[in-house]
Symmetry: C2
Subunit: 384 residues, 2 copies
Amino acid sequence: MRNFTFHNPTKIVFGKGTLAELKNLIPEDRRILMMTGGGSIRKNGVHDQVMEALKGRTVIEFSGIDPNPEYEKCMDAMRLAKKEKADFLLSVGGGSVLDAAKFTAAALKFKGGDPWDILEKGAAVAEAPPVGCVLTLPATGSESNGNAVISRRATGQKLAFSSIHVFPQFSILDPATTVTLSERQTANGIVDAFVHVMEQYMTYDVNAPLQDRQAEAVLLTLIEEAPKIKEDPLNYETRANLMWCATQALNTMIGCGVPQDWTTHIIGHEITALHGLDHARTLAIVLPAVFRHQRDQKGKKLVQYARRVWGIEHRDDERTLEAGIRKTEEFFRSVGLPTRLKDYHIPLESCLPAAKAIASRNPKIGEHGDIGRKEIEAILKLAE
Amino acid sequence: MRNFTFHNPTKIVFGKGTLAELKNLIPEDRRILMMTGGGSIRKNGVHDQVMEALKGRTVIEFSGIDPNPEYEKCMDAMRLAKKEKADFLLSVGGGSVLDAAKFTAAALKFKGGDPWDILEKGAAVAEAPPVGCVLTLPATGSESNGNAVISRRATGQKLAFSSIHVFPQFSILDPATTVTLSERQTANGIVDAFVHVMEQYMTYDVNAPLQDRQAEAVLLTLIEEAPKIKEDPLNYETRANLMWCATQALNTMIGCGVPQDWTTHIIGHEITALHGLDHARTLAIVLPAVFRHQRDQKGKKLVQYARRVWGIEHRDDERTLEAGIRKTEEFFRSVGLPTRLKDYHIPLESCLPAAKAIASRNPKIGEHGDIGRKEIEAILKLAE
């Protein structure tokens, strides 16, 4: 395997009834900016539980953060935090709210001029006030990493940054808060976690057998639990297993010492920016196309995946590999996510500008750095 | 799965040449108490590399820490640290040296009287100076947890403690430093890691499928890599895989939300205290006996283990389960560790006092709390 550094200081507090722990996790003298999303936490009781746990504390609310959180919204939050002298950011919601909180925290202490530079120019984040998380939607893994993705509709951009300073100090994961998620949110979360694993696993062999098996462990569990949650959405145990899978998919452990891809995410972000399609849905479209386009480069690992995860045992590697990709597509469709642009009535032509946009911003992408504008166009054609 | 808290703040720096990172990991103004073992680090170049990285720093050396580190030795280290006003403890060596450093750190700031109370009475550790680690022997997992085991020959005791304050701030893991380990040290490390996984995995089902597969991932990789290292002890890649397995076996991740056993360790510690037998060798003797004694309680998981880890597929569960235990014994013997007391010429009678000693100190042990003096005697008989 390759050399690596692994550092994940987030404290995970997992299980039923753990929201009450909030009062012990934030020091009493902190002024808390509490960031929330569209209002579901007011319907499912989470808001009440949080306010109960924080009774007597200074809590300033900032609500209305949407999926694919917007830069300007974070700037509003930053201004409110400054005005109110907030020194603790608490995210209550899903990965989008948490990403907004992370970026707001980084922007608050940013001394290099325009905070947008953190996203566009990779300007360094030197410090940030602590961020805490109450997670209500398992999907992004943001609850246990230092990454955030922020969008700017004005320019059609969706960009990521990463810093050790925005790892949540704690994340409270109570699976009971997720039983009221819609089938669509649940399905999106499953596919998001699945593809996070794939970006770190489906590359080439560097003799890292433990990381391979840890990745396969998450994939196999997602595949096993997905039909159960469709059958019985209120099942706490299944919700708990899905929630823990999503965290493990992107707490950066399975990516230690191995090459990573992230082509599917980079292309998917563009499709979301262009068409507003759910993040996970773009992944379900792009991933199989990336696999087919890169079948030579990813061949050995695709065969291993087909055998170990799907139990496919053709003698012929080519057939095994293709069967593995088909099983992946069937899996996405089985949870409710179609796998082609046309299934969402998105014309191929409308996506092709994504190829140019990505190529203009990045050197060639993928684990071999061999995917440029032409290749992205070819991948999009395979996804039509 | 059960509720749990997971918090592992240790920064892992892994790979060839990473010892040079030391200079960036310890602040320049720190007075470093450097704790080491029996001298192998002076032969294999590790000592030179560490001193080179710390050139110009204040380094006070304390050497001679033996396997099963001794309480009195830690007290000597503590007195030296106080005298020299050391404010950073650096362990250079294996898990024993690191455990000694952790306990010395805890003792340094202990305000509750005799530091032995931390081990014997579970007295709380409220603070400790930072501990850093350069690991040269993969086995105990101590490089990525807050546990330490300390012995007191005067009283024949071997006791553990655990605290968030003694997680190493960083652990440098350079597999190249492990290629000079003896076959015995290597084999002990493999079995130690294997049994750490077992203590967290071989219990009963609580619907935690991801944790099961993560545990199996480590077991399968250890089984795959063990014969390779016997064949080619100088192979960096294999050393790297074994080193990462040992860390993952006890960084507390696979134990999240599941019942744990630790019977094998508790009995093994007594055999080491009585006979000075290597820790891992005691585990190789006790584990199969615990499995046979608890076959009813552990039956379902033993069958799963036999099937998934060893690929055994009898129709009959009893035969599957027994075949899995036999495969485990064969594995231990294949790396060079016999699995019976008599293989080490240890008479059964000489071990029976262990049962009384354990029972006098603990409530009944094991994941069901059903193992007392009589049961420990029966386990020892099965291990004869």
